[in-house]
């Protein structure tokens, strides 16, 4: 027996749960304003989540998937990206989307059951939320292929969950990206749960980062509650991708502190005790502690930020409520670039029968 291949998976953390730096921070962290901006994005996401859940409970929007406890993944990823990179998200990635310029009104529209929510005024080329798990990974590979073919210095960044790594699409697309050395960064938000299925029933792999090995791709693990680590490792992967070094898979270790969605009741399948424990690792607290340690944060600033974020969220909710409802034509307007004649009669029928009291 001879050894023909050997692999290692590394793990990166800069801040421990007490917000203490366990090693020298990367250069970008010297810019305190940048860290504060990241902190703000994380707090805003959390404020949005709380409001969105409340809106769902009162029937103002539909099912909603909160990012509670996973804010550092989205914010770390999005702050590492360039504007003309492309984000290929799942449905739980508004933390990243808000940084990218998607508006909270758009997010509310989406979860409120209105396709206009995916017509981002901001990042026009970012893909829309992807609900069928794992199916967005090939999209990201395809977009990366386009960038490479056109010699554009752009990277496609794909987000998916731990559950998503069980889907064939994830593996197939990563394998193609490996063969074609595509400018692609895949980030797994390993929040330990796929609805009720815990990580250990999802795969016998010790880490999810090692799934990269199957594709001959670099796989790395990062503390997903440490936004500095996420931004740094994603940044390295982006640099590598941009300079022709090919794809990277990054597993960010987090924890889903909330229910899967508002349609879920996690108490059915996990005990409150283990969730409580996870609150000691959560990312917002960690960064706040670090900022406080370096003298960049205090209660006053925190209170101001919380007020600020609440106001911003409330303004978005008001703007959402103020939008006119979609008309039934919306079903036909963008089905094809030009509506085929064969569908004209159906559009007429829809107009004629639009329910009374409903938007026409």
């Amino acid at each position: 027996m001879t050894t023909v291949a050997a692999f290692e998976i590394d793990h990166t953390q800069f801040l421990d749960p007490q917000g203490e730096a366990v090693k020298a921070l990367p250069p970008f962290a010297a810019d305190t304003a940048a860290l504060v901006a990241m902190y703000r994005a994380m707090v805003l996401t959390r404020a949005f989540d709380a409001k969105a859940i409340a809106l769902q409970r009162t029937g103002k929007i539909g099912t909603f998937a909160s990012a509670l406890g996973q804010e550092a993944v989205g914010v770390g990823v999005a702050t590492a990206m360039e504007g003309d990179d492309v984000l290929v998200p799942s449905y739980r990635d508004h933390a990243a989307q808000f940084v990218r310029g998607v508006s909270m009104v758009e997010s509310l529209l989406y979860w409120g059951g209105d396709e206009r929510g995916s017509n981002f005024a901001g990042p026009r080329q970012d893909l829309a939320n992807c609900v069928p798990i794992g199916t967005q990974v090939p999209h990201a590979a395809g977009a990366a292929y386009a960038f490479k073919l056109r010699r554009e210095p752009r990277v496609a960044v794909c987000l998916l969950g731990d559950g998503g790594t069980s889907r064939g699409d994830f593996y197939e697309a990563m394998n193609m990206a490996g063969v074609w050395r595509l400018p692609l960064v895949i980030v797994i938000n390993n929040n330990q749960w796929a609805i009720s299925v815990p990580r250990h029933l999802q795969s016998a792999a010790q880490t999810l980062a090692q799934k990269a090995i199957a594709a001959g791709v670099e796989g790395r693990q990062v503390d997903g509650n440490d936004v500095i680590a996420v931004r740094q490792i994603v940044g390295q992967a982006l640099d590598k991708a941009r300079s022709g070094g090919g794809p990277t898979l990054i597993e960010a270790m987090t924890y889903r502190l909330g229910d899967h969605t508002t349609a879920d009741d996690a108490s059915r399948y996990r005990d409150a005790e283990s969730v409580r424990e996870q609150w000691t690792f959560e990312p917002n607290l960690r960064l706040r502690r670090y900022l406080a340690r370096i003298g960049a944060w205090d209660k006053e600033r925190e209170d101001a930020l919380q007020r600020d974020c609440a106001a911003e969220v409330n303004a978005a909710v008001d703007a959402y409520f103020a939008l006119p409802p979609p008309t039934c034509d919306a079903m036909f307007d963008h089905l094809y670039q030009t509506l085929p004649d064969a569908l004209e009669a159906q559009r007429e029928e829809a107009r004629k029968f639009a329910p009374k009291g409903e938007p026409q």
Partner: protein, 326 residues
């Protein structure tokens, strides 16, 4: 006799078969500890153990593929796909394997699996959670395609599906899961998988439907009755193999037919029924066949759901149109 709703009827049938036949296993995402996102399998893992009520990794193609392997090796797997919007990756296994294994081995091997999935719109769910792709499966040789429309038929048809020696795709209309209760006896009596059910008799027009739309179709029949029109209502229930004779017989009596389904119209299963009438019922037809269906559009997000789903008003209007012909 307990009054139960449709999702409870599904649970009852699953429990009945798990208890009766040790070769029955359930598999799917979140069906175990969590009891399924619609609670269809609630309590079953606790009762029958995690080896027989299996929480799978998130991989629909292989949920179907593993079920095929289980079935070939002598189990009776009942696989759940969490929503029909996520069932498309199973088509490869259903078409290329499940529907063929008996044929291509000349009966040496068989594939008695059930692929269950909550189907349809009308529950204000997110994208991809409101689909009705039954026509795709109805096109596949070697499989059966079944959609119950009442708690009692859910119970009886699911028992039959599990006991059937061949693959059965079984859609459960989410809109009906908790809509109403019905007395269902847990007597283990299966319903036949090759008949359409005449659920209301009438002489003026035949309304044909299945799944959740049957409720609206019955409401349309009520509305028509108020105006003195007597509608016969047929629940297709088993789309494949189709019991066309029951439909032909009804149309022979009424001369008019309205087909109602919520899937997109083009190449939907309503087309097959209309084609059957055009081929074998033409001389009975006094009026053009009417299809009242979802439009040929993407099932919209919840805000436009009411505009998408065939409404009672649309069904009534179609029936009236059919009645206009002399």
């Amino acid at each position: 006799m307990a009054e139960i709703n449709l999702v409870e009827a599904v649970n009852l049938a699953l429990a009945h078969e798990l208890a009766r036949d040790p070769s029955v296993v359930l598999l799917g995402e979140d069906i175990g500890v969590n009891g399924g996102v619609f609670r269809a399998t609630v309590g079953l893992q606790a009762r029958f153990g995690p080896e027989r009520v299996i929480d799978t990794p998130l991989a629909e193609a292989s949920i179907a593929g593993v079920a095929v392997g289980m079935a070939v090796a002598g189990l009776r797997p009942v696989a759940e796909i969490q929503f029909t919007g996520f069932i498309y990756p199973t088509l490869d296994q259903i078409i290329n394997h499940a529907g063929r294994i008996r044929h291509r081995t000349r009966g040496r091997l068989a594939c008695p699996l059930v692929l269950r999935s909550p189907a349809g719109a009308g529950i204000h769910a997110p994208e991809h959670h409101s689909e009705s792709p039954e026509a795709l499966f109805a096109h596949v040789p070697g499989v059966r395609m079944v959609i119950p429309s009442s708690p009692a038929r859910a119970y009886g048809l699911l028992l039959a599906a599990i006991r059937d020696p061949d693959p059965v795709v079984f859609f459960e209309p989410t809109r009906l899961y908790r809509l109403y209760r019905q007395a269902v006896e847990d007597n283990g009596e299966a319903l036949p998988l090759d008949v359409c059910f005449v659920v209301r008799e009438g002489g003026d027009v035949t309304l044909v439907s299945w799944g959740a739309m049957l409720q609206d179709t019955l409401a349309a029949a009520d509305a028509l009755a108020r105006d003195g029109v007597s509608a016969e209502v047929i629940d297709v229930a088993t789309l494949k193999p189709l019991d066309l004779p029951t439909i032909l017989e009804s149309v022979a009596k009424t001369g008019r037919c309205v087909i109602v389904h919520e899937a997109a119209r083009t190449s939907g299963f309503g087309a097959e029924i209309a084609a059957g009438l055009a081929e074998q019922g033409l001389t009975s037809l006094l009026a053009p066949v009417q299809r009242v269906t979802g439009y040929d559009v993407v099932v919209p997000l919840p805000r436009l759901e009411p505009q998408y789903l065939p409404s009672v008003a649309r069904i009534v209007a179609a029936a009236r149109k059919a009645l206009e012909y002399a």
